[in-house]
Amino acid sequence: MNHKDTKSTKSDKQGSLSVLRVFVVNNFRYALLLPALLFALAPVYWMLTISLKTEVDQFASPPPWFVFTPTLEHYYDAFVTRAFGQYLITSAIVAVTSTGCALIIGTMAAYALARFQLPWSLNRRLSLWILSTRMFPAIVTAVPLFLMMRDVRLLNTRASLIIVYTAFNLPFVIWMMRGFFADLPRDLEEAALVDGDSRLGALVRVVLPLVAPGLAATAMFCLIISWNEFLFALVLTQTDAAMTLPVGIAGRVTQYEIKWGVMSAAASVAIVPILVFALVLQKYLVRGLSMGAVKG
């Protein structure tokens, strides 16, 4: 009896000790993670508040983080009075069209690279060559592309951006889709082929529905990349009718008298579609951001 008692208190002690230890270790984690979280989000929150503050509150000292009278005047100013509404439309048209083109051209190439046995180990060589074109620093191709677009009189058109973004996204689509096709067992298509389907028929009816989630994820990545792209847009479009949202915002930043509210309002709107896509994409984020190198 006595013996049993000491034993139980001993194990209780050990139990509470390990609970304490888990508590300390976990809270140590939180003590490090919370500042990181704050550091990641506070600057974005600060911009949102600036976009909603009157000019008096914007310049107030000490800076009001939470208590101020919100106003939508900067949003009205940016998207109704100024041309930001038009930049927004241009950004959307360019992103959607170039993504569509890159998806169609890229998926076909990816399927061929993943499924057909090409001579002279071309599958591997072509894939690596395609990847290497994506590794060119943007400024390297921006200079000649500007001159080429000038020669064919496409400067300051949405078409120039659609063309350039299609080419820019193509290697990404090919690498992502090649990985998704390679993950599929071959038997499924072969069964369709045996059943008398053509290659194209097997691709459209059997393979594409199976890779649809991958295709959707790839499409969203392309949309984000095109929506965020800055350097090509800056070089190729300088008129209100053709410039994208990032170029429009940047143009306001580098002026001498900066309208902070208008700029923050435009920037806040620019991040909305991105955050929505990012939430949907969580599962594919690692794979997409490493061009398929890490299958997270």
């Binding site: 984690r29 490090l32 979280l37 550091f39 990641a40 989000l41 600057p43 600060w46 911009m47 310049f59 107030a60 000292s61 800076p63 051209i105 076909m108 190439a109 399927y111 061929a112 057909f116 395609i130 074109t133 590794m135 060119f136 620093p137 943007a138 400024i139 390297v140 191709t141 200079v143 000649p144 592309l145 500007f146 001159l147 063309i163 080419a167 193509l170 290697p171 090919i174 929506w227 965020n228 800055f230 350097l231 800056l234 070089v235 990032p246 915002i249 940047a250 580098t254 902070w260 923050s264 620019a270 991040i271 955050l275 990012a278 939430l279 984020l285 490493s290 190198a293 890490v294 997270g296």
Partner: protein, 283 residues
């Protein structure tokens, strides 16, 4: 045999005309000189590089920027990944929130940090003032001394989440077996990290370092928005100098010559990384 050709041809046509042809175009303009007697060919644009102080300074800035940002992003990203590689409450929320900076358009990142770092009404100096710190000399992006530090800090803010995300995926792909063996052997936590975690994480580390190095060497957007390479030329990296040469001075030939130096640099460095990666895979 016709079908694969039909499938691949459009992609090849697009890449040849919009990635390869521009490079060839670039080679020709970098070798051409327009003189009164017509167009002549020479290596003058490349010869100029060695004695151009703007170019040499921009290269130095690019290296400082790359090495400093890469080091900070790697150490912080690895730390965060290790902290979140446990089933703790709110993990999904932490992970999602930490990823916000990296998803933002770089232009928006520039705007966010211009607002934060503004000496007059920025949140950073405002908060420091509240804490009783004299902020008169802390002009951040406007100060020649602090501008480089500021743009590096902004890059670390935006891209540490990416390093974190890839390394976390790498950590989670490590099987439990080696850890159990280490536990039986009585290894300390540090020994386990040093001899089990790090070697198994190496491929993910190399890939993330490769991708970050490539992006850092060609950095343009954030610096363009934050400082335009200034004050003076204190934060002008190679991409910004190429942009200035081409689109402010319209010296396309010289800009093309410089862009080949950048291309060569990124190619050599990525080749070294890939060599390391393949060496790992072979073992």
């Amino acid at each position: 045999m016709l079908l694969p050709v039909l499938f691949i041809a459009p992609a090849l046509a697009v890449l040849l005309s919009l990635s390869i042809y521009p490079l060839i175009y670039s080679v020709t303009i970098s070798l051409q000189q327009e003189t009164s007697a017509g167009v002549t060919w020479s290596f003058e644009n490349f010869a100029r590089l060695a004695s151009d102080n703007f170019f040499l300074t921009a290269m130095a800035h690019t290296f400082v920027y790359t090495i400093a940002a890469l080091t900070c992003e790697f150490l912080l990203g690895l730390g965060l990944a290790l902290l979140l590689n446990k089933q703790i409450r709110g993990r999904g929320l932490f992970r999602a929130s930490l990823l916000v900076p990296m998803m933002l358009p770089t232009v928006v990142v520039g705007v966010v940090w211009r607002l934060m770092l503004n000496p007059n009404f920025g949140a950073i100096n405002g908060t420091l003032k509240q804490l009783g710190i004299n902020t008169e000399s802390l002009t951040w992006t406007a100060s020649p001394r602090l501008a480089m530090l500021s743009v590096i800090a902004v890059d670390v803010w935006q891209w540490t989440p990416f390093v974190f995300l890839v390394l976390l995926a790498g950590l989670q792909a490590i099987p439990q077996g080696p850890y159990e063996a280490a536990l039986i052997d009585g290894s300390s936590r540090w020994q386990t990290f040093r001899h089990v975690t790090l070697p198994l994480l190496k491929p993910a580390i190399l890939i993330v370092l490769l991708l970050r190095t490539m992006d850092l060497l060609r950095v343009f957007d954030q610096i363009f928005i934050l400082t335009e390479g200034g004050p003076g030329f204190a934060t002008e990296t190679i991409s910004l100098y190429i942009y200035r040469t081409a689109f402010r001075f319209f010296d396309f030939g010289y800009a093309a010559a410089m862009s080949f130096v950048l291309l060569a640099l990124t190619s050599v460095i990525s080749a070294i990384y890939i060599r390391f990666l393949q060496a790992k895979e072979a073992v």
